[in-house]
Symmetry: C2
Subunit: 362 residues, 2 copies
């Protein structure tokens, strides 16, 4: 069977986890799952049954190179691809696919984000194995997450009949559906014909290269130029990437490639996937004490306090007295105290600090 | 007219302002009034119209000598009396009175606590002047605070007719009344015959010396021994104090002296007095923004947050999002997040930390 490579997309500049997240420390470096392991590190470990670390590529921002290496020391530095600027997922996947083809022309590629949490890892890995098997036949395959609520924050996959020639359970993607309004989300949640689009794709490297050439020829030209430069040397490759990347279109793989392919397969999976979108999600995922407080790694003294999530520096003594459903995040230089149901509004605080030019805490 | 000396009682080991207050930094060192000036420092400044700093004596714990000197550099070090152990207010006042008599036999003495806040300082000083005038005639005088609510946390003074020979408005204290239950407090609040006992006393030094000799002869013997040692030298005085103080009775001036005197006068005053008993009181006293937040000296970003009181280290960025009526106190090594209406329960957190032997933050 073909070798399986995994591409972890680890750009991002989210502010939803401020003050823990910063421009130089985005969400994938935060231990939002178990309170100990950064999401990126957990992602590398999660795919280890399919791709050993030398078969893992991480695509990230240039200024995150060192932090990425520190979070994943087992991934060879040559596997960390540095984007000079972010250009959404299509250029990122096209480039990583080209790099993998040079190393292993028959490879199957798994693409996923660095900053999700998955509670049932065996189910997830099993689904990826099914997807990889389907991909070897030439299909582009996506994972579709069984919805657990009528979520309006995700895109959906409208699924159709069984995918011809694929294992039992693999279905055709009839359509990629944008984030719905509440009424439509409720319908999708109930009709059994819609799955969450988690942005997880599996394909043969040559198949993706063909698709990029067909739908995004400018991107294909660029990756061909990266290939030629790489044959000369690493310095030349970096130079070429830095020169051409800013000119690439800012387009997602979904929009630029997938929606134009007429035979995308989907493997449905129920694996406790979460995109960990806010401090509220961090509380939902976290290990709770008897009163529903998430206090991972914090030296907390709790008096009649319920449903709080707390982050604090090592050694700091935190006392909660008579408070409920708060987000308390202390990073030494900054402190956020927020009602958990206002987790989306952390952005307003970040905007105010940006306005006030408090760059040292952003 | 006689010289007026002021004795500031500045012992205390309160835990109600944890984590700002510590064993080595009790409440009088905290800027709980204006957010900038420690209560002790404010007390020294407040009495300046009556007693210049060289006429101010501060009685405190030995281990607070340096902190006291730093908070009040204008008070001569020789005016800071160091108790080896706390023995409540009677021995403290008796000792300070003896020291003052040696310096100025005719002096009038004002005694008050280091850790109260007074919003109308001119009214307070005017009342002390009236009290001092009454004291020169030989009366022991106390200030009685006009109640502003049916408080159950204070003792009361039951007032009687005018005090013979004293200025208009000075009344007889009929009785010192213990902290009442709610029904009785309500009655005291309404009957116009009860004032709060703030523990503020004014008397001639020789009058108090006579009263102590009469009611607490053991204490009078000790202060006489301190006097004799002081005539030999400062080292001898310290030695004598340290030797005898632990053996003195632990008794308040109210209980040990005042309640046994049959002619105590009271000057009623409405001066915005508060004993600043909890973080709730600190919020009540503090300067508020338009949404009722007390944020003195804190770099705070506020998004839909109301009625909070925040303390944080200089330079720390604090963001409040959608939270109400909280106490948030960050001291660098410790963080308290508490519902304001649970301010009495900070003690429970301190007890838990004591149990856990976290002495470094107590």
């Amino acid at each position: 069977m073909s070798e399986i490579y995994t591409v972890i997309m680890a750009g991002g500049s989210g502010t939803r986890f401020w003050p823990s997240s910063r421009r130089r420390k985005p969400k994938q470096f935060l231990p939002l799952g178990d309170g100990i392991t950064p999401l990126l590190t957990a992602t590398v470990r999660r795919v280890a049954p399919l791709s050993s670390p030398d078969h893992v590529l991480i695509v990230t921002r240039s200024d995150l190179a060192e932090a990425t290496h520190e979070a994943c020391p087992e991934v060879p530095p040559g596997n960390i691809l540095l984007e000079p600027v972010g250009r959404n997922t299509a250029p990122c996947v096209a480039w990583a696919t080209a790099v993998i083809r040079r190393r292993s022309p028959d490879a199957v590629v798994v693409v996923l984000a660095a900053d999700a949490h998955i509670s049932d890892e065996p189910a997830f890995v099993a689904a990826l194995r099914v997807a990889a098997a389907a991909a070897t036949t030439g299909a582009i395959v996506t994972l579709g997450i069984t919805p657990t609520r009528p979520e309006t924050g995700y895109g959906y996959l409208h699924v159709g009949e069984n995918f011809a020639g694929a294992p039992e359970g693999v279905r055709v993607v009839q359509a990629f559906v944008e984030k719905p309004d509440a009424a439509r989300a409720e319908q999708y949640f109930r009709d059994g014909q819609h799955l969450w689009n988690a942005g997880i794709f599996v394909f043969r490297a040559d198949v993706m290269a063909r698709a990029v050439r067909l739908h995004l020829p400018g991107v294909a030209d660029a990756t061909a130029a990266f290939d030629r430069a790489a044959e000369v040397g690493t310095v030349e490759e970096v130079h070429e990437v830095n020169a051409r990347y800013p000119g690439l279109p800012n387009v997602s793989l979904d929009y630029g490639v997938m929606e134009n392919e007429h035979a995308v397969a989907v493997v449905p999976v129920d694996c406790g996937w979460s995109d960990v979108g806010s401090w509220q999600a961090a509380w939902e995922l976290g290990l709770k004490d008897g009163a529903g407080n998430v206090l991972a790694g914090v030296e907390a003294t709790v008096v009649d306090a319920r449903g709080n999530v707390v982050v604090a520096p090592a050694g700091k003594v935190v006392a909660l007295v008579g408070v409920s459903d708060l987000v308390v995040v202390d990073t030494g230089d900054a402190l956020l105290v927020m009602s958990r149901d206002r987790a989306q509004d952390v952005k307003k605080a970040v905007d105010a600090l940006t306005e006030a030019q408090r760059h040292e805490v952003l």
